[in-house]
Amino acid sequence: MIDFTDSRRRQPAHPTDADDSSLEEARLRQQAIGVKLRHMFDEVVNEPVPDAFLDILRRADARTSGKDKA
């Protein structure tokens, strides 16, 4: 790490309390966004699968075994 701090310190200490709470706040917000993001995705995952999907696989199956194109 590069040390940018001057040896002549003007402030005796950082306002650590404020830093900690804003870090904690940011962490909470990211966590909340993460929960919502997963929820949004899972909502679609939990939808019933439309029949069209399984029909396609069924047709693919027929193509493989019977080679009929009906």
Binding site: K36, F53, S65
Partner: protein
């Protein structure tokens, strides 16, 4: 020209491998639909894309190694399909952008959960590569390494995209940089915090 017929290699006869492959593929359909929805932003286009990807995966099953990560493999197929379709026609790209812009200004379903709407809209403001990286890692449950495979880029690239996406998303939500019923900035983040609280409470309880 037609994708399925007229190939020089005859399709394999149905086998136990095919059955196993199909079972796994069926289980992945809900996830493919969800990923497609985040890429296209439109349920109908998403299902078309997911169905195309499913067909491609089925046709390419001989090149898949059973026991490896089929979810990542099918996601990669779906993603490639999405971008090759977009490249094929600049017009559809234009339409996508117009659709995205419309979504940004118009929220017309009053029943839709507020926080989810706002998250969706904020997601739409992200660059595509950031959005997909965040979705894969943050919602799809993929490790950075797997997401890198799906996006065919370096792991470090995925990490930085996810990190930038998270920051940008939070900033957008806090700024409330899009209008919704003229509500004050910061409401989006507040409703997301409240909703996430409720969701995780429900999960634990």
């Amino acid at each position: 020209m037609s994708p399925a017929s007229g190939r020089s290699t005859a399709p394999k006869p149905a086998s136990a491998d095919d059955e196993g492959f199909k079972r796994e593929l069926v289980q992945l359909i809900p996830h493919l639909r969800a990923f497609a929805r985040t890429l296209t932003g439109d349920p109908t286009a998403a299902d078309d894309l997911a169905q195309d990807a499913m067909m491609k995966a089925w046709d390419a099953r001989a090149s898949y190694q059973m026991g490896t990560n089929m979810k990542a493999w099918t996601f990669m197929i779906l993603r490639n399909q999405f971008y090759s379709e977009k490249r094929r026609s600049w017009r559809s790209t234009q339409l996508d952008q117009e659709a995205a812009e419309r979504t940004l200004v118009a929220v017309d379903d009053p029943e839709a959960p507020v926080a989810l709407d706002e998250l969706r809209q904020a997601l739409n403001t992200l660059p595509e590569e950031q959005r997909e990286a965040l979705i894969l890692v943050g919602a799809g449950g993929f490790a950075y390494e797997e997401a890198a495979e799906i996006c065919q880029c370096a792991v470090g690239t995925v990490k930085s995209r996810v990190s930038r996406a998270r920051k940008a998303l939070q900033a957008t939500l806090e700024r409330g940089g899009y209008g919704r019923d003229g509500r004050a900035a910061g409401d989006a983040m507040r409703s997301i915090l409240a909703d996430a609280d409720r969701l995780s409470g429900a999960r634990q309880g």
